[in-house]
């Protein structure tokens, strides 16, 4: 992508994100949002996050897919357990990256 295109994409996303952030505070004033819309919005975070995470773990690495050579599968499961029990970004990054490197080292 050209430099101009990259900056255009970033500015459009920035502007759009700002409007999303301003939407409720500005349009509602002191009121509240329609119940149906709020209900749907509640499920955006869990749905979006797993839609990012799962393919990134399965297909993100150099040996993507469901195979024994894909170190990210096991490292991803370990990281998920760490995330669930500690809720700590630091611990999950440390143990997740650590186990990825260890498994890669054992495989090659």
């Amino acid at each position: 992508m050209s430099t101009t295109a990259v900056w255009t994409v970033i500015v459009v996303i920035g502007l759009g994100t700002f409007l999303l952030r301003l939407s409720g505070i500005h349009l509602l004033g002191g009121g509240s949002m329609p119940e149906g819309l709020m209900r749907a919005l509640r499920y955006v975070p869990p749905a979006v996050i797993t839609a990012i995470v799962v393919p990134a773990i399965v297909y993100g690495g150099p040996d993507g897919g469901f195979s024994l050579h894909n170190a990210r599968l096991l490292a991803g499961v370990i990281a998920a357990v760490v995330a669930w029990t500690t809720r700590s970004v630091l611990a999950t990054l440390g143990l997740g990256m650590g186990s990825l490197w260890l498994i890669e080292w054992l495989l090659h």
Binding site: M1, V12, T17, G24, G31, V54
Partner: protein, 237 residues
């Protein structure tokens, strides 16, 4: 004079409340910076993304999609879909901040994040309420903005020095796993998460890198459906 010291107190209170979140923000920000330069973007783009977009999850995905050569329109739609949750945050903050003039609302909206929202809404809903809510919010949100800029810049600077064999890109799903934990609260949200992940995985080969969006839509729809079904079952039981 008393009003000014009240504002200062509320601001300091916000800063104190956000302090424990700092250790999590720094590696997240550095990851966003590293991700940008890792896909070959200019360091200025990595820093520009943090200033202009200022939303970690979408910045990471944007870097990845640019690296994959996705179409600009798809990148924009995917990023805005990821940031759609801000509408929910913004709406739920409206009763507390909506009365302010635009010169307050616009900057407060710009610095809205998952963490600033979580801290503020908890305080506004359950905490003792002393006048200056917007000062408390500013105290919670502004340090996060400053830290984010510093840590992404650090990541951009580091990113060029990190060898590909380290697979730093794996940090992306790792950070997101931590963000996932607090949003899985009940059965419908479990169903939304499982469907989102499962469908996105199945749609991985979908044209135009639409897999993420398809998974996300399917996840939201299944969460809503599950909630409605559970409600109906409770009503008939």
């Amino acid at each position: 004079m008393t009003q000014r010291s009240d504002s200062g107190q509320a601001f300091a209170d916000g800063v104190r409340t956000v302090a424990p979140m700092i250790p999590g923000v720094i590696p997240f920000g550095m990851t966003a910076g590293i991700a940008a330069v890792e896909v070959g973007l200019d360091p200025s783009v990595g820093i520009g993304m943090s200033l202009i977009i200022f939303a970690g999850a979408s910045q990471l995905v944007v870097a990845q999609l640019i690296g994959d050569g996705a179409l600009p329109m798809i990148i924009i739609l995917t990023a805005l879909l990821i940031n759609l949750r801000m509408v929910m945050y913004s709406a739920s903050l409206a009763p507390h901040l909506g009365h302010l003039p635009m010169r307050w609302k616009a900057p407060l909206a710009y610095i809205l994040t998952d963490q600033a929202y979580a801290i503020s809404i908890t305080r506004f809903t359950y905490g003792r309420s002393h006048g200056a809510k917007h000062w408390f919010y500013l105290g919670a949100a502004l340090p996060l903005w400053i830290l984010w800029q510093i840590s992404t810049a650090l990541g951009v600077w580091l990113g060029t020095a990190v060898p590909p064999a380290w697979q730093v890109g794996f940090a992306l799903p790792l950070v997101f796993l931590v963000l996932l934990v607090p949003v899985i609260r009940d059965r419908p949200s479990v169903i939304a998460a499982l469907t989102g992940g499962g469908v996105a995985l199945a749609a991985h080969g979908a044209p135009y890198h639409l897999g993420l969006s398809i998974g996300a839509f399917a996840g939201v729809a299944s969460g809503v459906a599950a909630e409605l079904m559970l409600q109906r079952r409770e009503r008939t039981a």
